[in-house]
């Protein structure tokens, strides 16, 4: 029998993964789109005005007034330079988050400058950011709810329903009690009740989690709409007229130019959100609770063998997470707005997208939700001051961004390994 010559294990043959040119190519394409889409067509001689401080700020800064065409072109050129830099980092197999982020900011500002070129009233940047925060709130809490559930292995498609239930209960109870803070206490209860349905069906009856989520959304939409059309409409003043949640202005901090208003002149839900981000981040990644939750979400059987009750953990997380979403739902009626049919308008699904974009981490989800909130409020502001871009097209952007994201523009995202699968007990 022949014995072929043994091949020694080669030490390290130069076998490297093919370089991924995806990110730099996409950046180049986007920069080119910006260049030919609007930057080149910015009328010469016009100026763009951008407000930097809100009306209530202690220190007033003068409005920023710049030549539209020059500024837009300059920013797009910087974007091209960054795309070039991205080619270089890819060539050297480095990964940098900073380059795409700065790139994005450049393009957004180029766009803004073009959009408000020659507009007399100018772009109210502090107001824009402030409304962006408001728009982002349900998304942030929704995304937190999503990741709380999914980190323990239960996919939460029902965020939409939880937001809706939270908003409904908030509006009704805040009205009945005549106190906006009572609504805040009611909101998580609404979310948790919806979460309980999700939990019972997906954990106890082991129905597919996505199916339960979709159906629960229909159920909550039907319930709230039905009750709105009957009970609430019978007597809207006594049942659906919630008081406004007051803004709590933090002195000095709220006076910071540009961002002060958005960050520190907000209602209590925003401050609760700050606390939630910190608590969730530490809780998930540093605490015993988080370690166990992640273990259950990644490898339930392994968690079971070290004495962790998988399904109890899941029940708790789903109900708690849903309560968080319900709390976020309160923000949609916090400004003293009445509850209306489908007041959520699909925000629950965007929250889900924010969670995925944020790669199942609280800080990532926060960033993604803020981005979506910004896009939303920008669209509204531009629509008000007269935008050259149709409202519908801009409104599409978050959804398009999400598709790009899940299709791998921002790198592969990996959900918790155990998510979506029921665990028998």
């Amino acid at each position: 029998m022949s014995v072929s010559a043994p091949t020694r294990p080669t030490r390290d043959p130069v076998l490297l993964a093919p370089i991924s040119w995806r990110t730099p190519i996409i950046m180049t394409v986007l920069a080119a789109l910006a260049l030919f889409g609007f930057a080149l067509f910015t009328p010469a001689g016009l100026e763009s005005t951008i407000e930097l401080t809100g009306a209530s700020a202690a220190w007033q800064l003068p409005d920023l007034v710049i030549g539209s065409r020059a500024a837009a072109l300059a920013l797009v050129l910087v974007a091209f330079a960054l795309a070039g830099l991205s080619f270089w980092t890819a060539q050297n197999r480095r990964r940098s988050m900073a380059v795409p982020v700065v790139f994005g900011i450049c393009l957004v500002f180029a766009f803004l400058i073009w959009a408000v070129a020659g507009n007399a009233s100018g772009l109210p940047l502090p107001f824009l950011l402030s409304t962006a925060m408001t728009a982002a709130l349900p998304l942030i809490f929704g995304a937190f709810a999503g990741l709380l559930c999914e980190r323990s292995g239960v996919i939460n498609i029902a965020i939409e329903g939880q937001l809706l239930a939270g908003a409904f209960l908030t509006a009704v109870l805040a009205t009945v009690a005549g106190n906006a803070y009572v609504g805040l206490i009611a909101a998580p209860v609404g979310g948790a009740l919806v979460g309980l349905i999700l939990a019972v069906f997906s954990i106890k009856y082991r129905v597919d989690q996505i199916i339960v989520g979709v159906v629960v959304n229909v159920l909550v939409l039907g319930l709230t709409s039905y009750l709105f059309s009957t009970v609430l409409s019978d007597d809207p003043l006594r049942l659906n007229n919630p008081p406004q949640l007051p803004a709590l202005r933090i002195p000095l901090l709220a006076d910071i130019p540009v961002v002060g208003e958005a960050l520190f002149n907000q209602n209590i839900i925003v401050y609760a959100m700050y606390a939630a981000v910190v608590a969730l981040h530490i809780g998930l990644f540093r605490s015993r609770w988080g370690l166990r939750v992640r273990a259950v979400g990644e490898h339930p059987k392994a968690a079971d063998t070290v004495g962790i009750d998988v399904n109890r953990t899941r029940y708790r997380n789903v109900v708690f997470g849903s309560a968080v979403a319900g709390f976020g739902g309160a923000s949609m009626v916090a400004a003293g707005l009445a509850f209306t049919k489908e007041v959520t308008e699909g925000r629950g699904y965007i929250a889900l997208a924010a969670m995925i974009l944020g790669r199942w981490s609280p800080t990532g989800a926060l960033a993604a939700a803020l981005l979506f909130g910004f896009a939303d409020s920008l669209n509204r502001v531009l629509n008000n001051i007269g935008s050259p871009v149709p409202y519908e097209i801009l409104a599409m952007l978050p959804y398009l961004a999400t598709i790009f994201a899940v299709a791998g523009l921002v790198g592969r995202v990996r959900p918790p390994a155990g998510a979506g699968k029921a665990y028998p007990s």
Partner: protein, 489 residues
Amino acid sequence: MSENNDGREKPERTGAQPDAAQPDADAPSQAAAPQQPEAHTEAEPDGRGPEDSGRARRAAQAPAVPDTSPRPHPVDDGPTSSQARWATFRHEMLTGSWLLTLLAIVAALVISSVLIAVADADVRASAGYFFARPADLLSAAWSSIAGTYVALFRGSVFDYTVLTGGGVAELGRAISPLTKTMVEATPLILAALGIGIGFRSGLFNIGAQGQVLMGAATASLVGFTFVPPGTGPFSSLLHLVLALGAAVLVGGLWAGIAGILKARTGANEVIVTIMLNWIATYLVAYLLTTAVYRVQANRPIAPHVAETAELPSLLGSWSPLHWGFPLALLAALGVWWLMERSTIGFQFRAVGANMHAARTAGISVNRVFVMVMVTAGMLAGAGGAMQILGVEGTFRASSAGTIGFDAITVALLGRNRSGGIVAAAMLFGALRAGAALMQTVADTPVDIILVIQAVIVLFIAAPPLVRTLFRLPDPQRTRVAARAKEATR
């Protein structure tokens, strides 16, 4: 047509969820066990571990929980008597999936009754003095519930109130609601068939709504822009085929985006299709404001489609029923053949049941993803076209209604099989058809329909819950061995 599958649907399987079958389907059959006395849990070293052992533990702790492990034949000892056959039959009756479906519907109607009663002003008024005159509350509740369901029935099946003399015309008017139900069911059947194919192939297509909308938009565009040569039946047919074909094509392409992204990049189709729904909504809303749809006076409504593009009426002017309904039934038949008898369907089902094994067997999983999504989108697109060419004529942003979302529940209720989907679509079509009369006559808002739909599907998906509610026997606990194979199918 799909009875062979429906009858054997495993009770705790959602049907839509291919993975659910796997941990359950593990126990060796009665017949195989004595010859091969392997503790099956150990015989599978890989892949099965976690679910399997945990499941066995569950079965051990709570014997009431279903477990597909067959039990000994209870009538093994005696001769096969008619008594035993009757027992088997009775058992089948009590555990069959159609009974569960029926009970789920009953349960949903009961739960909705509570809502109807609670929301009724008279009921709430009489609740104030309940202890003084309890009968008032009960009669108020009864009248609101009965009023609602009777109106629903009259609006969707048979309106007996128009029968006074007994002429043929009156009879036509009386059963006209039933034909309206068929009209409502038409787009639901088509969209749900597509979703069902997706579910059986392991794809969660939440995007039927967008696909329906794109199909409707396209049918409208072709319907009012294209002018056929001449006016005869041939040119009408040509126009109709063109409008329908274009809608099918665009629906398929729109869904194909999700399929291609899934195949090329692994993007989760649930997320992508949800996003595509919103993009379709805004895209259509935008196009309706542009010259594409010849919008005048800022009203975002497309012109009425040309008469040549309209689906002809099937029964005459007394009924809204159009040719879309038989076409939808034909599509159901086609989908049945595709899934059960063709090599393409075999691929689809193989990928849905076990993607890895399908890949190892040479099936291109990525191509299947694209094909499934395109097929689903084509069906949904056709559904959208039916709505424009057969019912509305004019297209607006709200033309798709909630067809795409309702179709998900239809597919789930119909267990993703053609026959089941047609039946489920008729049920939900009836709810939609009857809703208008219910709202005007009984003053019950249409939103209750959503609740009924959702509750039915939730119950369908969790057979143990229904069994507990109605105290039915657990099929696994009393199953006869001979029936084991049917049940695990």
